[in-house]
C-alpha cells in the first residue's frame, strides 16, 4: 500500500513538473515585434510603367506612355525621372469644328498642337502613409505623395496642317511640373500608382483658320496616370527599434 502511494505521488510529480516546463519555454522577448513598422520605400529603387491621358484639352488629348525611375533616399523623400511618348487623340469638339468648317472641295484640318516626347526630372515627398483594410479581407499599405520638378515636352502641330502653319511645326518646351498621387503596395515588391501631374508649359495650342499662330501662352497640361511599380531590393527594411 505504501509503495502504491509512493508510485502515485511520483506520477503526479512528473505530470506537475512537465506542464510548467513547457509554458516557461515560451520566451515572449523572442516574439516578433507586431508594432514594428515596415520601411516600404527607404533606400529602395522604384521602376515604374505609367499610362494615362491629359485632361481638359480642347482639341487633342495626349495619351502618355511613360517609363520612370525613382530612388527613395528615405521613407519620405525620393528623386527620379520619367521619359515617354504620347499619342494624340482628337476630341469631339475638334471633329465638330472640322466638320463645320469643311465645305465641298475644301476640307479643313484643325490647326492645333499635341505632344511627342515627354519627360521630367522630379522630387517626390511622401507626407502621408499608412495601411488600410480592404473589403474586410486584407491589409494594404499605401502612401500619398507630392511631386515637384521640371518637364520637357516636344510640341508638334497637327500632321494635316504642318505644311501650312506659319511657324516651325516642331517645338520644345521646358515646363515646371507639379502634382501628387497615391501608391498602393500589393506586396513588398509591387505597387500600383495613380498620379496627377500638371506640366505648365509656354507653348502654342492652336492657330486660326488662316493658319496664323497667336503668341505662345502658359498652358496647364494635366495628365492622370495609372502605373505599376517594381521595388528593388525586393525586401523592405524595418523601423529602427
Amino acid at each position: 500500500m505504501k509503495r502504491t502511494l509512493t508510485a502515485l505521488a511520483m506520477a503526479c510529480l512528473v505530470v506537475a513538473l512537465a506542464a510548467p516546463a513547457r509554458a516557461e519555454s515560451f520566451d515572449m522577448s523572442k516574439a516578433p515585434e507586431i508594432k514594428r513598422g515596415i520601411q516600404w520605400r527607404a533606400q529602395r529603387s522604384e521602376i515604374s510603367l505609367q499610362i494615362g491621358p491629359t485632361v481638359e484639352d480642347p482639341y487633342f488629348r495626349n495619351l502618355f506612355f511613360s517609363l520612370g525611375y525613382n530612388y527613395h533616399i528615405n521613407n519620405w523623400l525620393a528623386f527620379g525621372l520619367n521619359a515617354g511618348y504620347t499619342l494624340p487623340v482628337k476630341t469631339k469638339l475638334a471633329k465638330q469644328i472640322e466638320a463645320e468648317r469643311t465645305s465641298p472641295g475644301n476640307s479643313f484640318a484643325i490647326p492645333a498642337t499635341y505632344f511627342g516626347f515627354v519627360g521630367d526630372l522630379h522630387m517626390e515627398v511622401v507626407p502621408v502613409f499608412g495601411k488600410s483594410m480592404v473589403a474586410n479581407a486584407g491589409i494594404m499599405a499605401y502612401d500619398f505623395h507630392l511631386l515637384l520638378g521640371a518637364g520637357f515636352m516636344q510640341v508638334l502641330w497637327n500632321e494635316d496642317v504642318k505644311d501650312r502653319i506659319k511657324v516651325d511645326p516642331m517645338d520644345f518646351a521646358i515646363a515646371p511640373m507639379f502634382g501628387g498621387g497615391v501608391r498602393l503596395f500589393i506586396n513588398r515588391m509591387f505597387a500600383l500608382t495613380v498620379d496627377c501631374k500638371d506640366y505648365v508649359a509656354l507653348m502654342h495650342t492652336h492657330g486660326t483658320t488662316d493658319y496664323d499662330v497667336p503668341k505662345k501662352r502658359w498652358e496647364h497640361n494635366v495628365a492622370v496616370l495609372v502605373g505599376f511599380s517594381v521595388f528593388l531590393p525586393t525586401e523592405a527594411g524595418y523601423d529602427e527599434e
Binding site: 500500500m1 509503495r3 502504491t4 509512493t6 508510485a7 502515485l8 511520483m10 506520477a11 503526479c12 510529480l13 512528473v14 505530470v15 512537465a18 506542464a19 513547457r22 519555454s25 515560451f26 520566451d27 523572442k30 516574439a31 516578433p32 507586431i34 485632361v55 481638359e56 480642347p58 521613407n75 519620405w76 469631339k92 469638339l93 469644328i97 463645320e100 468648317r101 507626407p127 502621408v128 502613409f129 499608412g130 495601411k131 488600410s132 483594410m133 480592404v134 473589403a135 474586410n136 494594404m140 499605401y142 500619398f144 492652336h206 492657330g207 486660326t208 483658320t209 497667336p214
Partner: protein, 222 residues
C-alpha cells in the same frame, strides 16, 4: 508484486501523458506566429446619418466652367453600405474657349450652362485605414465608391436624365466630424441646337461631414 506493477504503470502514465500533451502544445515559433491582435474600429458609421456640405468644381466643363455648392444626406445601413441623396447648385463662367471658337474659327458654340444636379446614390465603403503624417500623428479615413442617378438642369433642358459614378474619401477628426473629398462623373443626355449627345460632368467636391448621432461607443467590428 502487484503493487510494484501498479506503481510502474503509474510512473509510465506520468511520463507518457505529459509527452502527449506537449505534442499537442504549439511550438514556440508557432505560438508567436499565431498571436493575433484585434483593434476596435475607431470610427463607426453603421446606423448613422451623414450630413455633408461643400464646394464643387466641375473639372471637365470645357466651354463653360462651373463651380457650385452641394448638400448631401447619406444613411449608413451598416459599416459597408449606404444610401443617399444630394443637390448641387452650379454657377457657370466662361473659360475663354468659347471666345476662341467664335473668334478664331468663326463658329457659334451651342453648349449650354448647367445650373443644378439632383442625384440619389448607393455606396460601398471597401477601404478603412489609418495614416501617419511624416511618421507622427495618426489619422483615420475611409474610401468609398458610389453609383446612382437623377436629373440635371441646363439652359436647354429642365431635367436631363443623369447617371453618376464616383469615389470619395472621408478623413475623421472626431467620431462625428470628417472632411470629405469626392470625385464623380455625372453624365447627362443633352439636346443641343443642332445635335444631341452625352455630356460628361466630372466634379470634385470638398466638404465637411457630420455624423448623427454624433458620438457612438467603441465596439469591436469584425
Amino acid at each position: 508484486m502487484l503493487s510494484r506493477l501498479f506503481g510502474f504503470c503509474c510512473v509510465l502514465v506520468g511520463v507518457v501523458v505529459p509527452s502527449l500533451a506537449a505534442a499537442q502544445v504549439l511550438s514556440e515559433e508557432e505560438y508567436h506566429r499565431n498571436i493575433t491582435i484585434h483593434q476596435p474600429r475607431p470610427f463607426l458609421e453603421a446606423a448613422r446619418v451623414e450630413l455633408s456640405a461643400g464646394g464643387v468644381w466641375a473639372a471637365s466643363s470645357g466651354i463653360y466652367g462651373h463651380a457650385g455648392v452641394r448638400g448631401q444626406v447619406d444613411y449608413h445601413i451598416n459599416e459597408d453600405f449606404y444610401v443617399g441623396a444630394g443637390y448641387t447648385h452650379l454657377f457657370a463662367y466662361d473659360t475663354g474657349l468659347r471666345d476662341e471658337i467664335e473668334g478664331e474659327f468663326n463658329l457659334v458654340s451651342d453648349r449650354s450652362e448647367m445650373w443644378y444636379q439632383a442625384l440619389v446614390r448607393f455606396g460601398w465603403v471597401p477601404i478603412v485605414g489609418k495614416a501617419s503624417v511624416f511618421g507622427t500623428g495618426i489619422g483615420y479615413f475611409d474610401t468609398h465608391i458610389f453609383i446612382g442617378g437623377g436629373v440635371t438642369g441646363t439652359r436647354l433642358s429642365v431635367a436631363a436624365p443623369t447617371g453618376t459614378i464616383g469615389l470619395g474619401t472621408r478623413w475623421f477628426f472626431t467620431k462625428g466630424l470628417a472632411v470629405s473629398l469626392e470625385l464623380a462623373d455625372s453624365p447627362y443626355w443633352e439636346t443641343f441646337l443642332k445635335t444631341e449627345g452625352l455630356v460628361h460632368n466630372v466634379t470634385v467636391m470638398l466638404g465637411i461631414s457630420v455624423f448623427l448621432p454624433y458620438n457612438v461607443d467603441d465596439r469591436f467590428v469584425k
